[in-house]
């Protein structure tokens, strides 16, 4: 069956292309996340330091690299959002697996956070990730919107600009997507 096989290869190609771009900003995103985390720890998260600023800084660091040269800022933000999502979900999965694997390996937290909270964050993230994949099947643009807003911190106007739709359309799509995703992430919560 040469036809379908070829199609799949092409898909795989573009995915590996994307993966390469992701690899490149992977570590950077990770370090930025840690920085962001350390700000939260010190209660320093403010309007000036949000994920948008973070993504913007990442952009400044990376913009001169050859294969990002032709990338526009919004497009870069979209890539960064994907990287952010992947870093977080990978970590959540890894920790989840470890928790199931052996008791002795659980991370001991000393910051006043209960292990439960951490656990729920892991599981919620994985659930969000999976629900987002499902949403992508139902409406790719909507899934992309959630990705950009949540993982890259784009605001309504930026999201609208990136996707080429009106702001009210973004607001409307967001509300429905949020409700639906939340119903999938924590279905039994009151």
């Amino acid at each position: 069956m040469p036809g379908p096989q070829k199609v799949r290869d092409k898909e795989a190609d573009s995915r590996s292309e994307e993966k390469r771009a992701l690899d490149d900003i992977f570590s950077l995103v990770y370090e930025e996340l840690r920085r962001l985390a350390s700000f939260v720890r010190k209660n320093e998260v403010s309007a000036t330091l949000n994920s948008t600023a973070l993504v913007h800084e990442a952009w400044l660091k990376l913009k001169d690299s050859p294969h990002l040269a032709s990338t526009s800022v919004p497009h870069f933000k979209a890539i960064a959002a994907k990287a952010m999502r992947q870093v977080l979900v990978d970590e959540a999965r890894r920790r989840n697996a470890r928790k199931r694997g052996g008791a002795g390996e659980a991370i001991r937290v000393t910051l006043g956070d209960s292990v439960d909270e951490i656990t729920s964050c892991d599981e919620e993230l994985i659930a969000l990730h999976e629900a987002l994949d499902e949403l992508k099947r139902l409406n790719p643009r909507q899934a992309e919107m959630v990705e950009n807003r949540f993982f890259a911190g784009l605001n309504v106007a930026e999201t609208a600009g990136l996707l080429g739709v009106s702001e009210s359309a973004v607001e409307r799509d967001w509300r429905a997507a949020r409700a639906w995703l939340n119903s999938k992430i924590r279905p039994d919560m009151e």
Partner: protein, 880 residues
Amino acid sequence: MDRARWERIQTIFHDTVARPESEQQAYLETACAGDQGMMAEVLAMLKADSRGPSLLDRGLPEVAYRMVGASIDSASFREFGPYRLQRILGEGGMGVVWLAEREDAGNLVAVKFLPNAGLSPARRERFAREIKTLAKLKHPYIARLYDAGALADGTPWFVMEYVEGLRFTEYCRQVERPIEERLRLFRKVCEAVQYAHGQEIVHRDLKPSNILVESDGTPRLLDFGIAKELQSLDETADQTRPGLRFLSPDYAAPEWVRDGTMGVYTDVYSLGVILYEILAGRLPIKNTAGDRTGDATESTPERPSIAGKRSSSLSKAAWSELDVLCLKAMHEDPRERYQSVEGLSRDIDHYLNGEPLEARPDALRYRLGKFVARNRRTVVAASLTVAMVILLVVFFTLRLAKERNTALAEATRTRHIQRFMLTLFGAADREAAPSNDLRVVTLLDRGAHEAKVLNSDPETQAELYENLGQMYQRLGKFQQSNELLQLGLEKRQAALGAENPKVADSLIKMGLSRGEQTQFKDAERLIREGLDIATRHLPPDDLTVLRARSALGVVLAESGSYDKAIALLNPIVKRPPTGEEGTYILLDSLPPLAVAEQNTGHIDVAESLNRRALALDRQLFGNSHPAVGFELAELASAEATLGRVPEAEKMYRETVAIYTAWYGRDNPATAQYTNILARILAQEGKYVEAAPMLQEVLPILEQAFGKSHLYVALALDSMGTLELMRGDLAAAQGHAERAVAIDKALFGDSNHNTAVVKAHLAQIFIKKEQYDRAEPLLRETVKALTERSLPGNLSVGGAQALLGRVLLREKHYRESGEQLTAAYAILAKQPGTSYLKMLQQTREDLATVYEALHQPDKAAKFRTELVANQPRKVDAPIGN
């Protein structure tokens, strides 16, 4: 579920939430038409919609914290093997370093972990490479690797020698270590880097925090986290670039940042920057303007001797050697750098031994190329004067280049002068322009000396003398200027005879210089002499004749003979000479004519002349040339004086934009114009915009002009006013007091500037109700201003109004009444509404005074005026 169904669900969801709660259930049932699955989906969404914040709403920082935050300051263990962790020493791009104690041996070690190692294979690879690199390096100045492994969860670690010491730069700063000691220490660092290079390892992240100095003075190199083996360089273009690079931009070599090329020269550059820092006490300022497009290769940092406070223990010549050495190490172009760390070390040895440096460039061609390459852009000038001198040199160069085409005989001479100029200024240019007038003067002194011993033909000599003389004139060094111009004149007379038109040119130059020194009689005599010679030998429309007429006009306008000046200058301006030289004559004639017209009451004519000069500048130099910016600022200043503040604002904005584009934001001239713009903005009440401008500008001005310069005082004064308006009185007082102190030191206690700044400080005290502190300040202000101003001066009125208020608050009614009455007389005469607020306040104060003095009639008079002049929108009175 499919797409269509999801669309349908969303529609129902939106339609439902748009309805009142009481109708929702019914609507839902109708809309879903018995589709229980759909109904359940929408219901779940409605529930989620009304629920509080979830993961999605918490935002990324929170999630980041929960996901990767834990490893920041809590290891997942406290001990492993024989090591017990104590505290975090630091965390960088490549892991967290803990201080640990080896329990069996009791010694301290540093343990580096790679947290969240599972995330990225690339990070794991780099960590492994660091271990491999460290294992290869065994040198007394490099921290040693002891052990390496991985935790049960896969987190890799390695143990290395713990170095207890100070950052390299901090160590150097301590007790003001002499330069030579710093250099010897730096030399040791070079040795360690050189050793690593010998092991084919490039560090790539050399910076002061990676070089610690132990208490016995031994430097230790740390953190080979992004080091690279030279032999593997070609294999894969360098995978470390770009995403995985966490380098420190201040120390990273430009070519590496730009396109990833690297080699030993990468480390040479970083060492150069570190050397700069220990010499100058700060990092070189990079050209950061324009971020992406800004071509870093064009910028040259200020010489370290100028950037830093030059230690007096070293001679000028020694500093000059160090400048060359340091700037060669950190040259933007790797080909121009030392080709190895060894080369750098060798030159440091040469320096320490008092031998000539290998780095000393002597090729004029190199300087010339550099000079020409950047005479259109990024003239990194350190002060307005220097900028002017450099422009002047460019101007001369271009003009001389033109002359070369006119006569072959002159070619040699022209080249000679050009060479001389470039040698003279080439040095200054190459190592960035000098930071203050003194340096330019030194340069000129050197030039003047060389010109005198230069045994060339008299005409060359004469031209050199005159060029230098004019530069001294621009710098206000009139004694030298006079001397050199006189020498030039004598040379010309001797060589060409007293009647030669070129002698006329010399006479004109001298005359203009005298005019600037306000020796108008001499000036007029010299120029007339020149004009006579020129008229005797040349046709009336010859450029030399016209130049003489224009010059005479300039001097007459300066000396106040406005009508004569207009008579001379008007024909030139009406029928301007053609050609480039002619245009310059026109350009020289316009401003004095404008002055003359303005002073004979023709303000409109003057303004149109100024605008014409501006247009000509634009035409000659392009819209973005500093000459245009300068002209605009002149116009703006006039506009501001006339009270046309918005126009002034617009022009200053353009000036600032031009200077920013030309010299960069960090340039002192740019900073000073920004300073003035901020002042104008503050005057207009645009505090939000003005405040950050001043914040940005102050350190630049302090750096360039010193902490007690007029410009700094100006900025501080504006900042004080801003803080007063914003209500931060403590900050306002701090700024204002500094401004007063500076002005006092500069101009004396009774100077006009000092007086005005004092009044501003007094306003702060009034606001704080510290009338006893405001009173003496205002008394001094009123006294100083009254002595130096014409009767009816507005500043005097303003100060008296303030003093009157203070006295009123202190219940000294009679004297308060006197001051307020005087103020009232001045303020009431001001046209327009700009001073209405102040006037109204004075009326109110006067009314209060007369009530206290039991003169109800007078009080009533002012109360009536107060009400009659109430603006429609009531503003809060000043200072309340």
